[in-house]
């Protein structure tokens, strides 16, 4: 019987994104925000998504959360969560969400409790009283000062760090199996960032929740995520264990992006050119116009993902080639 199943249970991913494409019709033409994006996230796993602005990170999150903007189309692909296709029917409660900007993600005219309890009212079992108790205990867990009265305060009565703690508590409130975080610390100052990250990592690990973490900060990435996916222009360029990808990136884009990072490069260099507009994606490999080792074939066909020795996936057939010195300083 069991060999009839597509995947043995222990290998079944919690979240499986398969060949996902998201296109949006705009005045400037069809914007191909995401194309052919695939990855798996096992239960309790942590995956970081990195890439420059406009590479599709936020759209990927919105597809998973079921809040794609009006006019977005999904011409191909699936997003499976615990085996269910959540593109057709978004799941709430089982996926927690930590937004990017704690200052603007709470409605200023409602008390914190009134906002945070609404999601629980609809998606968590128990009475309002149970929900209040649960939230307050989570407020304690995220070390929110004066946790007992926090539900009756308005957002403007909290600091930025406190609001992000509120939102983390809210994301965990329905006991989700997956927490999705969109650069949750970029709006905060550096010392608060560290605390919040440590807290988030600790709480999700404790509860065996998987974490999908969007960031453009490599320091954050290595602190939080086991695996990393590097997105470029709506495609996955490289996907693998964080330590390996950071230490020895293989995709030319990943190599140049890491070389750009001030912590790692002796000299700050840039990648020539800019990310293409989503309405004007180049044919073939979307990085080829900026790639120092591009060959004529790169403009013709979309590169297949190649598996390398450590299990990483690299979307470049020439990943073993050395980059010319000039490109890396």
């Amino acid at each position: 019987m069991s060999d009839m199943l597509p995947d043995p249970p222990e290998r079944q991913a919690l979240l499986s994104v398969r060949d996902l494409a998201v296109h949006i019709r705009t005045d400037a033409g069809l914007a191909r925000i995401l194309d052919g994006v695939s990855f798996d996230l096992p239960p309790g796993g942590t995956l970081g998504v990195v890439g420059e602005s406009g590479c599709g990170k936020s759209t990927l999150l919105r597809a998973i959360l079921g809040i794609l903007p009006k006019g977005a189309m999904v011409p191909s692909g699936q997003v499976l969560f615990q085996g269910e296709d959540i593109l057709r029917k978004p799941v709430r409660g089982r996926i927690g969400f930590i937004p990017q900007d704690p200052f603007r993600s709470l409605n200023p005219v409602f008390r914190a409790g009134d906002q945070l309890l609404e999601g629980m009212r609809r998606h968590a079992p128990g009475t309002r009283d149970d929900h209040r108790k649960k939230l307050i205990s989570l407020f304690n867990a995220v070390q929110l000062p004066d946790a007992h009265n926090a539900l009756d305060k308005y957002p403007h009565e909290f600091s930025g760090g406190q609001r992000q703690r509120l939102l983390i508590a809210a994301a965990l409130a329905c006991d989700p199996d997956l927490v999705v975080a969109d650069e949750p610390t970029t709006a905060l100052d550096v010392t608060t960032q560290r605390e919040i990250l440590a807290l988030l990592r600790g709480l999700t690990a404790e509860r065996n929740m998987a974490l999908l973490f969007v960031t453009h900060d490599f320091g954050v990435l290595s602190a939080v995520c086991e695996d990393v996916a590097v997105l470029y222009a709506g495609r996955v360029a490289e996907l693998g264990p964080t330590g390996n990808v950071l230490a020895d990136p293989r995709h030319p884009y990943a190599r140049m992006l890491l070389a750009c990072h001030p912590d790692r490069a002796t000299d700050l260099i840039g990648i020539p050119g800019t990310v293409p507009a989503a309405t004007a994606q180049p044919p073939g490999c979307r990085f080829h116009p900026r790639c120092p080792i591009a060959r004529p074939s790169c403009a013709r066909s979309v590169p297949e993902a190649v598996r390398i020795f450590d299990g990483s996936r690299v979307a470049c057939p020439f990943h073993a080639d050395a980059l010319p010195e000039v490109a890396l300083v």
């Binding site: 809040i67 900007d101 409605n107 403007h156």
Partner: protein
């Protein structure tokens, strides 16, 4: 919140005192010699002098100002030159008529305007939005006096559904009660027949008067909702699993109406002055018709009283708007501290 309200009321007092003083200045600026006005065209200089002494107009200016303020504060607004009756008494009869009309008109424009603005915003650039836009442009563009006459022609003359003029059928009598608001008084007295009759008289003037306010409230609500829908917290609430209905009706609307609340207050003053034409056409015995009569008769005591009353209504509405805003948006009360 109690402290906030007290503060707003205290802040309104200097404005009211200023208003009282200003009306005093007006009595000295507009009619060159009030004594001559009071005495009339045929009076002899001796009669004018006698009147001047009787009304204290020969007193020093500051003493007259003090007397004026004291009289106004004790409710003594003098007597009408035209009818000879105390102005306070006449206004006491007419103010409730105007208040009833304007309250109902304002109520209609809010309960119709806010939902219209909401559905228009939710159907941004769709057919519903276009229809609401047409209605609101029309509501602002159509002149009240024209609409009033058209409504009279249709509902009173052609179809004979509603009464043409007045507040109530005089054959039925006036509802007994303290407030002078016929709808309220008749209900409190349990006189359903009077209530229905007063309502039938009220429909057309109220509909006429509510239209411009309805139009601008719909537009303000629409743009408020559209703006709020762009906010990050709406996206967050969607991700957290708010139902779309709750999101649109409660979550977004409360932010959107902060602008509308101010608008309602501002319009309230305009509503009272706008009532002049409507009251005249429907022969509504309110402040508007009273003011028109006072102007035509050069009854400056009556005009002063109307100015005062309208000013007081403005001040009261302003306080109410501030309080309403603080209730809708907690940050407003915070900033006032």
């Amino acid at each position: 919140m109690a402290r906030f309200i007290l503060r707003r009321v205290l802040l309104a007092l200097p404005a009211l005192l200023g208003l009282v003083l200003l009306t005093f200045v007006l009595t000295r600026v507009i009619p060159a010699d009030p004594a001559a006005m009071l005495a009339g065209d045929a009076a002899t200089p001796a009669q004018v002098a006698e009147i001047r002494t009787r009304y204290g107009l020969d007193q020093p200016m500051w003493r007259q100002a003090v007397t004026h303020v004291r009289q106004v504060l004790t409710g003594d607004l003098g007597s009408s030159i035209f009818t000879g009756r105390p102005v306070a008494e006449e206004i006491g009869f007419r103010l409730p008529a105007t208040l009833e009309l304007t309250f109902v008109a304002r109520f209609l424009s809010v309960v119709l305007g806010v939902p219209l603005g909401l559905v228009a915003a939710l159907d941004h650039n769709g057919p519903v939005d276009q229809i609401v836009r047409l209605l609101s442009v029309g509501g602002l563009a159509i002149a009240g006096f024209w609409l009033a006459i058209m409504l009279q022609l249709l509902f009173c003359m052609e179809w004979e559904l509603l009464p043409l003029r007045g507040r109530i059928d005089v054959a039925l009598g006036v509802p007994p009660g303290f407030s002078g608001l016929y709808l309220l008084d008749s209900l409190l007295a349990g006189r359903l027949d009077l209530f229905v009759d007063a309502l039938r008289h009220l429909v057309l003037p109220a509909v006429t008067l509510c239209l411009p306010g309805l139009a601008s409230i719909a537009r303000f609500t629409r743009s408020g909702v559209l703006e709020t829908l762009q906010k990050d917290f709406v996206l967050y609430a969607r991700a957290a699993g708010y139902s779309p209905f709750r999101l649109a009706t409660i979550y977004v609307l409360r932010n959107a109406v902060t602008v509308t609340v101010t608008q309602v207050g501002l319009l309230f003053g305009a509503l009272i002055s706008g009532a002049v034409a409507v009251e005249a056409i429907f022969d509504w015995p309110g402040l508007g018709t009273y003011a028109v009569q006072a102007i035509l008769a050069a009854d400056y005591k009556a005009l002063l009283a109307v100015t005062l009353v309208v000013g007081v209504v403005y001040a009261v509405v302003n306080v109410l708007v501030d309080v309403a805003q603080a209730l809708v948006d907690p940050r407003v009360a915070e900033q006032m501290k």
